[in-house]
Symmetry: C2
Subunit: 149 residues, 2 copies
Amino acid sequence: MTFRSHMDIALEEAQAAARRGEVPVGAVLVSPGGEVIAQAGNRTRELSDPTAHAEVQVIRAGCSMLGSERLPEHDLYVTLEPCPMCAAAIGFARIRRLYYGASDPKSGGVAQGPRVFSHPQCHHVPEIYDGIGGDAASGLLRDFFAARR
Amino acid sequence: MTFRSHMDIALEEAQAAARRGEVPVGAVLVSPGGEVIAQAGNRTRELSDPTAHAEVQVIRAGCSMLGSERLPEHDLYVTLEPCPMCAAAIGFARIRRLYYGASDPKSGGVAQGPRVFSHPQCHHVPEIYDGIGGDAASGLLRDFFAARR
């Protein structure tokens, strides 16, 4: 599988989240061998859990599977720039590479605002690749919020 | 109960975390009526969950109890300055007042580094009171890390 198809799975998770009335963001966790070991879309409303962002869910699932609080050599694909909560969790989990789609000027915490990875308080910085599938991801978000207005 | 005794409970949770081999941080969630509705210490190792910081645990527990992803008018007491993950979660949960003990130059995300509450990407900023029981909290951390060296 290529990074493009991993992001396709993340986009499908984002679409499924939108159908559940959740903010459409999806994430995929990939093992060192290239296998998808967890995939999720936002479920903050369904689970009554403000931490149930897609990224946190796949990190928690992967760590639970491995019996470890760290996921070295694992890569994470997410349709939207992570918020500061998710960025910090990605650092704690020692994710190797972070691929994300659309940038998020309103709530992002990687390339703007808190820039979580750009301070010495962050003990692990992943390699970061942005803009992958970004148009599809931001289109989903735009449609979702337009429909709610 | 006064805020001092709420922080005492958080300190007891931090001490219990240290006895479990977890970084000694404790948190308490207080309802609008002043009742402790959740208390927790770090359990990242025990649960193999890098997001299982004390603050995230009490927020998840409180939200689950209320069936809501928000905890308006609730206050959170934590022995250490929250990291950026927890600070962002506190914002998402709409916590009213954040009381914390020791400042955390190494990993903190409130008064230093990412300063999560100081950017427009943070949609809710709690009232923040720092330094409450800070000496006891930092003493716990110092002893814990000294014993591991």
